[in-house]
Each structure stands twice: as C-alpha cells, then as structure tokens.
Symmetry: C4
Subunit: 289 residues, 4 copies
C-alpha cells in the first residue's frame, strides 16, 4: 500500500520545491552566503586598508569560523551550502555500495565501462528533477555574494585597493592546480564527515569550518583560496574585474567532483551516499523541498 519511498520522494521533490518552506530555504542560503562573503571579504579589505593588521592567519580564521557558525545556525534549514559546487550531482553512490565496490574491483574493465555509461544517465535524470531547485539556489548564492561585495564597496568608498575577489599570485596554472587540490580536499572531508554516523550532528560544522580555515591559510597567498565560484563571482561582478575568473569556476568544479569520487571509492558503510550527501546535505535536512 505504501508507495515506494523513492517515487514518493521524487514526486514531492518536483512539486513541493516551490512551496513556502522552499522560500525559507532560499532566504537562508542568500542570507548565509551574504554573511559568509561579507565577513571574509571585509577581513581582506580591512587588512588592505589598515596596515595588514588582520594578517593572513586572521583572515583564515574569519573564513573558517564563518562557515562553522553558519552550518550550526542554518544547516538544519537549508543544508548550509553557500556554494554552487555542493549542489552539483555527486557520483551515484546508491548503486555503488560496499559489495558492488568489490565486484567492480574483481570484474574490472567491462563493469567499469557499463558503470560509466550509467553515470551519464544519472546526471541527465538529476538535472531534470532538480531543474527548479538548483538554479534557484545558485541564483540566491550569487546574489548574496554580489550584495555582500557591493556593501563592502560602499563601506570602503573612495579607496582604490579594495578588490576583495580572487586573483592568481603567480601563473594561472599554479592557481588552477592549487584550487583543484583544495576543493578536492574540502569535498573529500565533507564526504567523510557525512558518511560517519557520529559526525553528522556536532562535528560536521567543526570539521568543514576547520578545512576551510586551513585551506585559506596555506593557499590564500597563492591563489586566494576560493573553493567556491560564488565567492569569486560576487566581487568580480561588483569590481568588473574578470581576469582569471575562469580558473575559480572550472577548477573548483573539477576538484569537487574528483574529491567526492575518490571518497566514494574508499567509503565503507551500509548507508547509500546519495541519501546522506544529496538530500540530507551534511546536516539533517528536515525540510520538504
């Protein structure tokens, strides 16, 4: 009598995704992204304007803690993404759990080819089902980021060195590689704390915030440590400075996919990854959309 959970979920997904709670989610994403970008970019601007008083460790701490406190305060509402990358489809892990892992290793090449074909099917279905939700989320994130960069421009009016976006310090290739590795790292850690049952509740915010913090600390001087297309896009739009912007869009997308893919290979759990990472984000997502 009960309909299969998957079908019911899909139906609910497509219908209720424009009901009122979904609007609450969009507000949460926009306000959250606004605060994240405002805090981080203001720390960069204050460091430029007030004689390097914030220091790079200070800027890193601002980015990391801003992620952490927003995960704790709006994670249960919208999933606390603030990043278009965490809305992209991940490898379809429901069909690739522990025992199938072993099959894949033993059967080798042929299996792998079939599997790859399935992936593209999965990606196609995903984009149809999520065609309302994902663009709305991403629009809210980019809007929040642009509003934050605009606010900072108004606050530091008249000073010329207030560009708070991300620019390669060295060659484009250097920044491309560094952005790839740190986004890989971030998505690897997010997948890890989302897989481990104990981490779901209280440690997810701490671990994800700490990863952002350490990534900004070691990569901030090299590439700006964006890890997030929305973070780079907002200040670029406000300052009309699009130099090297492609790096901060292409490289994080590839890094995030690779990180989730590699973690999926070493995952060892009975829970399907999709249930954990996609619908529940890394915090229990009690909403309906």
């Amino acid at each position: 009598n009960k309909p299969p959970p998957c079908a019911s979920k899909t139906k609910e997904d497509s219908i209720s995704s424009i009901s009122v709670p979904f609007i609450q989610k969009l507000i949460a994403e926009m306000v959250g992204t606004y605060f994240l970008i405002f805090a981080g970019c203001t720390s960069v601007a204050a460091n430029l304007n007030y004689d390097k008083v914030v220091t790079l460790p200070g800027i890193s701490i601002v980015w990391g803690l801003a992620v952490m406190v927003l995960v704790y305060s709006v994670g249960h509402i919208s999933g606390a993404h603030f990043n278009p990358l965490s809305l992209l489809p991940l490898p379809p892990a429901r069909d690739f759990p522990g025992n199938r892992m072993q099959e894949a290793w033993s059967t080798g090449a042929l299996e792998l080819i079939c599997f790859e074909m399935f992936i593209w099917d999965y990606y196609r279905i995903y984009f149809v089902l999520q065609s309302v939700k994902v663009p709305a989320y991403i629009a809210c994130q980019v809007t929040g980021s642009t509003l934050a960069a605009g606010t900072i421009r108004l606050i530091f009016t008249g000073k010329q060195d207030q560009f708070t976006g991300t620019l390669p310090a060295g060659s484009d290739m250097q920044s491309f590689v560094v952005e790839f590795i740190i986004t890989f790292y971030l998505m690897f850690i997010i997948s890890g704390v989302a897989t481990d049952n104990r981490a779901i509740g209280e440690l997810a915010g701490l671990a994800v915030g700490a990863t952002v913090l350490l990534n900004v600390m070691f990569a901030g001087a090299i590439s700006g440590a964006s890890m997030n297309p929305a973070r780079s896009l907002g200040p670029a739009i406000v300052s009309s400075q699009y130099k090297g912007l492609w790096i901060y869009i292409v490289s994080p997308i590839l890094g995030a996919q690779a990180g989730a893919w590699v973690y999926n290979m070493i995952r060892y759990t009975d829970k399907p990854l999709r249930e954990i990472t996609m619908s529940a984000s890394f915090l229990k997502n009690t909403g309906r959309a």
Copy 2:
C-alpha cells in the same frame, strides 16, 4: 485543574523575580560582564602599551573565548547575556510558528498589517511584565563594564593612550553600518543555535564565541566591533570620552532586532521561539526568575 502554563509563567515571572535566586543571577551577570570586559579591554590596552604584541587576531581570540567560557560556566545560572541587547523583546514568535508563517505568506498584506499591530501590543506587555528584571540586569551589566574599565585605568595608571572603548576609525556612517551588520549577524547566529535542538547543550557557547571572535577580527579595525552597548558605555564613562557613543547604542539595537526578525522568518520548528530564546536564553535556564 492545571492553570494555563502561560498565566502561571507570567505570575511567577513578576513575583519571584526579586527573590534570592534572582540576586544570584544579578551577581552572575555582573561578575561575567566584568570578566568579559576586563579580558577584552586589557588585551586592547596591553596591545597599545607593549608594542602591538597581542595583535588584532590575539584580541579577537580573547573576546571570543571569553564569551565562550562564560557561557559554559554561568550560562545555566543567568543565561550569560552580558549584553543589554539580548534582554530586549524579540519578535513575538509564539504567535508566528511554522503554519502561521505559511498563512502570512499566502494572505499577504492585510494579515501582515494586523500582525504588525500585534507586535506593538506585545512590546508594551513585555515591558510591563519585565519592568523589574530588565532594568536590574542592564544596571548590573553596565556596572560590571564600568568597574572593569576602572580597574584597567588603575592598572595602566600614568599612561595616556589607554582608552579601551570603541571609536570609529573612518566616518560615523561606516561604523554605523558595520555595527549594524555584525550585531545582526550575532543575533542571527544566536537565534539559529537556540532553535536547533542539537545545539542547545554544547554547541551554543562554541558557536556564539566563534561569532564574536570573527566579528572582532574583521570589524575590529573599522568600528571597534562593540556589538554591545554595555561594552562601549563602561570605558566611555571611565574615560569621559563620549564621542560617537550613540553609534554603539543605536546601531546594535537596530541590528539585533533585524537579525532576530530575519531568523524568525526562516525558522522551521515546532518549538515556539519565545520559549527557546526569551525565557531559556540560549542555554537551559533552570532558575525561577
């Protein structure tokens, strides 16, 4: 037979609020505010007097951790406010839960107007009921802050650059906007961790302390990052330097109201906000007043 919980709570509120445990709460607020202001402002004074050895990240860490450890040690006694703003009436959320949220969105303008009228009624009732408690709390907080600033003045006697209050680094408008945003942010996070059940116990202190830390880090060089009228008032009284003080009283009040209001819009829980945030503060408040 059982009286309605609301009436019983109200009665108890007005009667027992001057009994002995309430005196304990006042002592906790005064001692806590003293320590918070003493630690934070001494770090500022030591940085001025000893060749910037503390650094801005160090000052931010002092403010953030001081809030955190005080929430853990006196949060269960007095609620660990230390800030007049968290005693102001918040939007009356008991009458605005999830389902009414949907009504408001669907019925639109008329409903909203009625709701606004109710708010003013709510504010009026609130101030009558709390007429004993709130002024006593605020008096204790300002006394604690002033005593702390006085102690620092005595410790650093004879040196002229020991003003540890908050002053706009740039224009008044710049500091007004920054104070508004960071107090909005702080109250938004407090509302968030108080709504989420998992956060009540152990994460509230961590999240609130981290928010103070990051706010001081990015806004400390711009506006001083007060977020708290008592924090600005104490050193101003001791040094008789009232320049720009109005910013640090008006802007945080508006920011705190706006932050609680916006979080209320995106809240999605069965618990009434007033029960969580007002009487229980952000830690379970087992006292009677």
Copy 3:
C-alpha cells in the same frame, strides 16, 4: 547496614592514599606538569631565540592547548591538576547549598558569622585528612616543573636570554592585581564547568584550556600570566632568579580562593560542590586515593 558514605569516604581517603594507584596518580601529575611547563616555556624560549617567530598569540595557544590535551588524556587518572592551587581547600559547599544560600541571605549577619567560624574548622579538618596526599601532589608538580625548566636550559645552552619564568613588566602591584584577577577568573570558570552537569565530560577540558589561553593572551605581556605557583617556581629554581617570585605564589592563592568563593555564592544546583570539585576534580576521577 551500609555505612554512611561520608565516613567510608574519609577512611578510604586516609588509608588508600599511599597504595599503588596513588603512585600512578603522582606519576601522571609529574609527567603532565613536565609537559605543560616544557611546552609553554619552550615556546617562550623559542620566541626569544628565533626573532619573535612564535609571537604572543602563539605562546598563548601553546599554554591553552597543552592544558586541554592533558585534561583529556590524564584527567581521568589524576584529575589533571598540575597546579598546587586546585589542591587547596575550597569553601565547604556541602553545607552551603541552594536552600541554605537563601537562609544566609535572609538571616544576614549572625548566620554569616557562624558560617565563617565553621570555615576555619573545615580548613583544619581538611589539612589533617589530606596531610599525605596534598604535599605529595605539590612535590610532584614542582619537581615536574623544575625538570622541564632544566631540560630547556640544557637545550638552549650557551644563550643568556633564556629565562622562561615570570617577571613583572611594570610595577609589582600591577602584576599582583593582574595575577589575582586572572587566577580568580580561572577558578571561577573551573567551578562553573564542574557544576554544570553537561560540562563534566567533554567541555571541561575545552573551557579550562580556553581560559588559560585567553588569560595568557591579555596578561602575558603584563605579568607573565602564571596563575600557578609551580609554573613560576620551576624556572626560578633553575635560573636562581627569585625576584618578584612572592607575587606569583601569594596572589594566585588569594585569587583562587576568591574565585571559588564567589562562584559558590551564585551556584544553583542540587549537587554538593565538594563532591564535584574536590574529590572528582573537574573530570570524573575513578581512582581511589
């Protein structure tokens, strides 16, 4: 049939305190104090010898985290004191719980006088009962501290600026006041996290470590931020530099007593403080001595 728990406890206390597990506790205290002092003082020495590369925030983080990790790793063995002050008798709270608090406030002066008389009786009994345990603990702590300072002296041999003890930066009175306040603060927080049930397990180490961290951050440049006679005594013995040492013994003792006393006034719990703070330290102390 069951003997009264108090008598059994007292008997066990005096007899078994020299049995084998007590030796394990002494080793834990000595090794723990060695590591705490070695880490903290080496950070001071490295900062002096390598061009201030550690910085004051770095030194503060070392002290704070060293306390935290030692609480987590040997707290369940020896109580993780590392400080003679936390072995001194605290105000006898078993006879001063919530309801008696109210009596004291209502009956006023006469009650208070009787109570004060009782205190001295309590202190006298305490020292007789603990006459074996406390001196052994303190001896281990001072030995650990002295060995650590000696190791550092050997490591940095031949350089003259390696004094890692505590010296007043300004007047003796300034350091005396600052040491009093920060030790008051530390003992106030320890009493707080030990009273709150939720804090016993996992938050005690975090809160106590954070308090040490922030105290060193704001007071390190003024008085050295000792808060611990053993911390000052070890390097003083190794370097034979006893100038101002009395400050770091007298002031913390007074501050610790005052902090525990004030927290006792605002405490509101059913658990007797002595049970929590004295025998169980701030971590569950499953040993027998």
Copy 4:
C-alpha cells in the same frame, strides 16, 4: 563452540588483510598522508615565498587542523595513522592491566625482568603477524608524502628556497632531544584519549590535532617538529637533501615507544590497551584487516 576471540582475530588478520577493504584502507592512508603533507608543506613554502605572510602560528594551525579533519573523515576507514610510528608495536598491554600493574610494583625486580623478556617475544610475534599489513601501510604513507612534496616542487617551480623538509636549526643533539620529547608527548596524548571511553568518539581528533598544533608551535623553529618519519622522508627524497634525516627517523621512533610505555604505567582501566590502541586505533575501526 565459539572459537577463542584471540585466535579468530589472528587468523582473520593474516588472511583478510589483502582483501578488497584493505585496498580501500591503503587508498585512505595514501590520500590522507598526501593531504596532510601537502597542506603542511605548502604552508611552509608559501611562508618562504610570500614574505612570511603565513607566520609560524599559521603553519602550526594548518598542521594541527589537517590532522584533526582527516581523523574525522577517514579515521573510521583506515585508523587515520599517516605516520609509520603509530603502526609500530606498542608495549603488550593486554598482559599488563591494572591488577598486574600492582603485582609488578610489589614483586619488583624479578617480575620486571621476566616481563622484559616477554616483550621481545611479543615484538617478534607482532612482526610475523603484521608482515603484510605494516609494510604496505608504511609504503603508502611514504608514497603519499613523496607525491605531496613533488606536487609542491612543481607548483613552486623555479624558486630555490622551497625545501619544505625538516632541518635542525641548531645542533643535531638539540633537535634530537626536542623530537624525542614532542613525539613522546604526542604518543602519550594519543594513548590517553584512546584509553578514556568518553574520548573515543568525538574528542580524539580534537585532542590529537591540538597536540600536533602546539608541538609545531613551540618546536617548529628549533627542529621543524616532524614527529613523523614519513613527513621528513618525502621532501628529503624530492629535494635529495638527506642532511640530518636520521634524526627525524631514529628520535621519533624512540620517543613514541617511550611515550606509549610511560602512559601504560599510569593507565587505570579495565579495557586491555592492545584492543584499544592496536586494532581499533584511536577511532573505531570497523574494517576487517
């Protein structure tokens, strides 16, 4: 009917250690070590190349948080070692629990001699049983470390000061002593949080990360604070700079053995240490190998 758990474990250990989940463990160790070394060494390289903008506290935070987040994300897969030292045999604690501790203290010298003889027997058995697993783990760790150092060399191509390995700042003996003490400290803390039941889940990562952080902070300027032969070996291979490398292999091995040994002396628990530390690492290790 049930076979003795010890025998079953041994058999399972030797047979299943090359099955598929073991390959997952090896991938986890290699990826984890890669990220740990990449993050830490890039922070060192960025500090050298960009005008000391990361600072020593920043580098310490990177190392500490990198350990913490990797423990939370792959600790339940592979144990999150990343360090050959934590794979070496520890003192055989299953045969040396609380009550035997008392015997050893009371019977004295003779018992101790027998015990020492048993240890060598234990070590021999250990290496036979683990002859597949341990070399594979260590190979993966050294490979991950070398790949990370190679990546950094490619990123910072053309600049000559990018050696990110560890070198003694002063004499070899100074670095040898400092490495011994900090590895002793690290293994002591790991043993401590693994013994305490409450710490197994959520605090292990925090405590171990904090220990690495503080060790790098105070010892980084003296010896480079390796604590891990794989961390020193990777950059040394890539840069072909083997000066003083023996210090970072011999001293941590001795320090780790001494730290586990001393903690074992003060341990007071009913759980056998081997069960906790060896098979379960410091996080519950649900795998089969």
